[in-house]
């Protein structure tokens, strides 16, 4: 079973990202769960969301404390939240930042998701962009499934733009490697 934790701010779509990832895994023929941290939801406040992916039906219902992967949608959270708390030793972090390198004590990928989102979506909502980057870094689901899940989540032009943002971020990470 793979467990992923998303860190974001209320209103940035971390929960939607977790759900889109769960849907993508489902399109890949896997079982999945996507859910928010069950806490207080406030716009702008640090929030978390989770995804579980497995080859068999997922019956575990607790929150995630030892994720395999962490996605940080806003580098500003790094000073407020210990984003790598409980992360497995060989875990991976993907951070939205303009910095090229970052040492969080774990294998870390960086991407300027805000730049990509502003460029393609025109707004600094980075959830789909970060999802593309995350898949570029980890390949835990196929980018085609992610795009399909995005198109099914956001209708019409909005969906197309978000799918494009995910793909650009995906390729940006792939080209770095």
């Amino acid at each position: 079973m793979i467990e992923i934790r998303f860190h974001g701010r209320g209103g940035q779509g971390a929960v939607t990202a977790a759900q889109i990832l769960a849907t993508s895994a489902f399109y890949d023929g896997k079982y999945s769960q996507g859910f928010p941290f069950f806490g207080v939801e406030r716009r702008g406040a640090p929030v978390m969301a989770f995804t579980r992916i497995d080859d068999k039906k997922i019956i575990l219902r607790s929150q995630i404390y030892n994720p395999d992967y962490v996605v940080v949608q806003d580098a500003g959270l790094l000073s407020a939240v210990n984003v790598v708390e409980g992360l497995k030793k060989d875990g991976t972090v993907v951070v939205n930042t303009t910095e090229e390198d970052m040492d969080l004590g774990f294998k870390t990928y960086t991407i300027d998701a805000t730049g990509i989102a502003l460029d393609i979506l025109g707004v600094p909502i980075v959830n789909t962009t970060m999802l593309g980057a995350f898949i570029g870094a980890t390949d835990i689901v196929s980018i085609d499934s992610v795009k399909k899940a995005i198109l099914n989540t956001f209708k019409g032009k909005l969906g197309e733009k978000n799918a494009k943002a995910a793909e650009v971020a995906y390729n940006t990470i792939k080209n770095k490697e």
């Binding site: 769960a22 849907t23 489902f26 999945s32 019956i59 219902r61 607790s62 929150q63 404390y65």
Partner: protein, 386 residues
Amino acid sequence: MEKIDIITGTTAAAMAAKLSNVEVIAAYPITPQSHCVEALAKYVADGELDAEFVKVESEHSAMATCIGASATGVRTFTATASQGLALMHEMLYIASGMRLPIVMLNTNRALSAPINIWCDQQDSIAERDSGWIQIYAEDNQETLDSVVQAFKIAEDEEVLLPVMVNIDGFILTHTVEPVAIPDEEKVREYLGIYEPKHAYLDPDRPITQGPVGVPECYMETRKDLNDAIEGSREVIKRVNEEYYKLFNRKYGNGLVEGYNLEDADTVLVAMGSVCGTIKYVINELKEKGKNVGLLRIRTYRPFPKEDVVEMLKDANNVAVLDKNISLGFNMGALGIDVSSVLKNKKVCNYIVGLGGRDITPQDIEEIISHVEGAKDGETKWINLKE
């Protein structure tokens, strides 16, 4: 054709109500309401569901409207949670007393004070004696299936009682996971049209519903009501089997589900989504060579007394988990019920997950190791901060 979609528990319930072709939905759309009626409002607005959606000014009115609608003889549905259910309290007794087969989704959430919108089962437990059949689903698939089954059970002429399908707030209501959605035509054919013989509105055949029940007849109607809910066990079991034949999914015998009970000296008893986590721990322990069982109570009212006795007959350590607390008894409702039907057996009670406190596999392991060394009748609050 059945299709699989990845949806939340509340969406699953809304889809089930739509598949069941409900005719009237009444709801009060404010916190602590869930997405369920929001989804249903959209189905109605988009013309996907031909139902009357009544926006009311409180949950008390929501249930009152459901009672009025159901009394005219139409299939009726609503959804609520925590304080909303508490506000319905008075009307719940009227719905069951008038023998109206209303189906309601309750998303289990704590009761204030302090203010808390998160999961526990105190809300529905507080309505235990209201004459409503109570089903607790473990996952989103069971949520959908249980809502459809609930109409079949409620409208059965042997039963004619309202049914409350309970799902854990957030844990199921806000989690997306794959759910098989049965074919609409097939569900509608299975349920048929609700055509009550006992309670209906027909100007050509006027009747009086909800009359005064004087001391000369009130007690008899209460006995009738009790006989109906007692008798509903067989109907719930039958519906579970019928549903399995048609849709290929069943939940234990409809009342209880045993998991790894054979040769299990220690058995946990629980309701709702925590049963998934318990099964997860049981599987892990089994790999390490330790055998622990689970008895999941799916139908809490009517209480499956005989099944509990029969399925726990070989267990020596019974640990009952409760997401509620009977204040002044230091036990949860399920713990009290299980203790009352099991004679000469060690039963311990564990208060868990109140107000959204997460229940982890470690908590379950702690319960297992505690009950094995505990004395009969102990109550322990789990994962309580110092």
